[in-house]
């Protein structure tokens, strides 16, 4: 089983105070902590689990500058066999379509049975790259996979998450792209020592020319959508913020609960 897993390095913004940058088309990235996209972490774990079950190799691919090596090393420490980094100034500003196009050019010459991606990325949240990649590679796909039951005779039986607690069971032909949902497994923990151990492993670096791509095929020129501007979501009426000491706030909550039927 030859498995490719596509991963992205994203800023952790859940508790960060975002600042819009001068271009007004993105946020200031300085000072933010970056890590592997949460969905992709589950995808790497799933790839390793499949390798442990069926044998074969796992190749991790990521797009971006040298800092992306951090998450590629993490994937190697988790059990991936090799890493490829796609980097070129011409890739900057790529939308979901252009990202998929670059990935497809890198993956096309490789031998593979499965390509795993996360369902979506924490930053852009397109939820589009995996299925787009499948169409560009001319292979099958299933989006939002929350269980891989088994793989036999060149076919996979997978569960796909629908709304309202319902799953759909799909049988499909390989090779295929599966986009992996969070919660599908319990990603293994990698220690700093583990990451250090793989630091010597070589990462293959490929750019626009290596992939035989033209400037107009990637980045903003190769994208189907263009970011015009970013802005903070308008705040509606919003919550009435309860102020005071912890004690005073608790008293206010009790009063609200009494009024609204929370406490008899």
């Amino acid at each position: 089983m030859e498995i490719i897993v596509c991963i992205k390095r994203v800023p952790e913004t859940a508790e960060a105070d975002l600042v819009i940058d001068k271009t007004e088309r993105d946020i200031e990235k300085e000072g933010l902590v970056f890590d592997i996209n949460e969905w992709d972490n589950y995808a790497v774990e799933e790839a390793i689990l499949l390798k442990e079950k069926y044998g074969g190799t796992v190749t991790a691919i990521s797009m971006g500058p040298e800092e992306v090596n951090e998450i590629l090393r993490k994937a190697l420490a988790m059990g991936a066999d090799q890493a490829i980094r796609l980097t070129d100034p011409g890739f900057e500003g790529s939308d979901g379509y252009a990202i998929a196009r670059v990935l497809s050019r890198a993956i096309n010459p490789l031998a593979y049975d499965l390509v795993l991606t996360g369902v979506q990325a924490e930053d852009d949240g397109y939820g589009q790259v995996g299925p787009t990649l499948a169409e560009l590679l001319g292979i099958r796909h299933v989006a939002i996979v929350n269980q891989i039951e088994g793989i036999e005779n060149g076919r996979a039986r997978v569960h796909r998450e629908l709304e309202g607690g319902l799953d759909e069971v799909i049988d499909l032909e390989l090779p295929a792209v599966l986009t992996i949902q969070t919660g599908i497994n319990e990603p293994r923990y990698v220690s700093i020592m583990g990451i250090r151990k793989v630091a010597q492993k070589e990462t293959k670096v490929l750019g626009l020319q290596d992939l035989g791509m033209k400037l107009e095929e990637a980045g903003e020129p190769g994208s189907m959508t263009v970011v015009e501007k970013v802005f903070f979501p308008p705040v509606g009426k919003g919550a009435q913020i309860l102020e005071g000491t912890i004690d005073e706030i608790s008293d206010k909550v009790i009063t609200i609960l009494k009024e609204k039927g929370g406490v008899a």
């Binding site: 913004t13 859940a14 508790e15 105070d17 975002l18 979901g96 924490e122 852009d124 949240g125 397109y126 939820g127 589009q128 299925p131 787009t132 169409e135 560009l136 099958r140 796909h141 299933v142 989006a143 939002i144 796909r160 629908l162 709304e163 309202g164 607690g165 319902l166 799953d167 759909e168 069971v169 799909i170 032909e173 969070t182 919660g183 319990e186 189907m224 959508t225 263009v226 970011v227 970013v230 802005f231 903070f232 979501p233 509606g236 919003g238 919550a239 009435q240 913020i241 309860l242 912890i246 004690d247 706030i249 608790s250 009790i254 609200i256 609960l257 609204k260 039927g261 929370g262 406490v263």
Partner: protein, 324 residues
């Protein structure tokens, strides 16, 4: 033709809400531009659904085929590719749902159509399609424009548009399915329901709900005790289930349960739209979060900006006193 197409989403014999939301938005766009609004319905024995949609569009294109009984992105892509090729709609709207996320990207590539996903609004300006979407878990809005094209595609986030009653009295056009045979490469096998747990969170009057901010499974008993002191049930947001700290039947949100208790106390939940969609109908929402810009404060009635590990124990003590 310059139609706006809306792809009808249905499952297990029922049209899903997102369909009516997309048609509502489509109607508003068409009123401005004068384009006709067309609902495209793929299914098996779907005549009754087509009737239900008549008033919502100028036209309902109905394509019936046994092979379209259940959603299958490959079958749908072939059929829709065919219809879009022939009818050349200016804009096609699909849901940013399990259905649309599996279908739209492949269809867009096939039709060489620009696609903007997970949009909360869509506009037409000077013959260009523009859309608003959210990034960074709903903390930032982004205005994107789609490359000029004969045919553009947008997937819309569920619950982004409120639906009003209207009647366009549309006609139903039947189109023959172009599918000659079953598609062997991707087959739908069955639906599987999530197992029911010991507590039904849709049936309690008060829910104490916990999210990623709880940080460690060792802290779950603390919120369980708060729930117990209120006679409430304990529910949670997705990350808590993903980490196996609470079972799936406790999850509130699009992929979990939709709840409407009298009081919903959200503890350490940021309020991503997937969660909000499952609880915004609650009577009173009280949110505790240390990030004052967390989206949960936009839908909560009362907010506490602070450390849940200080507030929850204090609250539990006060409730004990109040009930004593």
């Amino acid at each position: 033709m310059d139609d706006i197409f809306v792809l009808v989403e249905h499952r297990q014999g029922a049209i899903r809400d997102i369909t009516f939301e997309m048609l509502m938005k489509g109607k508003q766009l068409c009123e401005k531009t004068g384009n006709p609004l067309t609902a495209v319905l793929l299914g098996n024995d779907a005549g009754a659904m087509a009737e239900e949609l008549r008033d919502r569009a100028n036209r309902v294109i109905l394509i019936e085929d046994q092979k379209l009984e259940n959603f299958n992105s490959e079958a749908y892509q072939r059929v829709l590719g065919n219809v879009v090729e022939k009818e050349k709609p200016f804009l096609t709207l699909m849901g940013h749902t399990a259905f649309g996320m599996d279908l739209a990207p492949g269809l867009a590539v096939q039709m060489k159509a620009p696609l903007a996903t997970d949009c909360i609004d869509v506009m037409m300006e000077d013959d260009r399609v523009k859309a608003t979407r959210q990034t960074y878990g709903g903390k930032l809005n982004v205005e994107v424009s789609l490359k000029p094209a004969q045919c553009s595609m947008v997937t819309l986030r569920p619950a982004s548009f409120s639906v009003e009653d209207y009647s366009l009295g549309g006609e139903i056009t039947r189109v023959t399915s172009p599918l000659a045979e079953e598609i062997p490469s991707k087959r739908f096998l069955e639906y599987v329901e999530a197992a029911a747990g010991e507590v039904d969170i849709t049936q309690t009057e008060i829910l104490v709900s916990v999210g990623r901010g709880i940080k460690d499974p060792e802290n779950i008993p603390m919120v369980q005790e708060l729930a117990d002191s209120l006679g409430a049930a304990l529910s949670c947001s997705r990350p808590v289930v993903d980490k196996k700290w609470l079972p799936k039947d406790r999850q509130v949100g699009t992929s979990g349960k939709t709840v409407k208790p009298k009081v919903y106390i959200a503890i350490g939940i940021s309020g991503a739209f997937q969660h909000a969609a499952g609880m915004k109908g609650s009577g009173t929402i009280i949110a505790i979060n240390k990030d004052p810009k967390a989206p949960i404060f936009n839908i909560a009635h009362f907010g506490i900006v602070g450390d849940l590990f200080k507030i929850v124990p204090s609250l539990k003590g006060k409730i004990g006193e109040a009930l004593a």
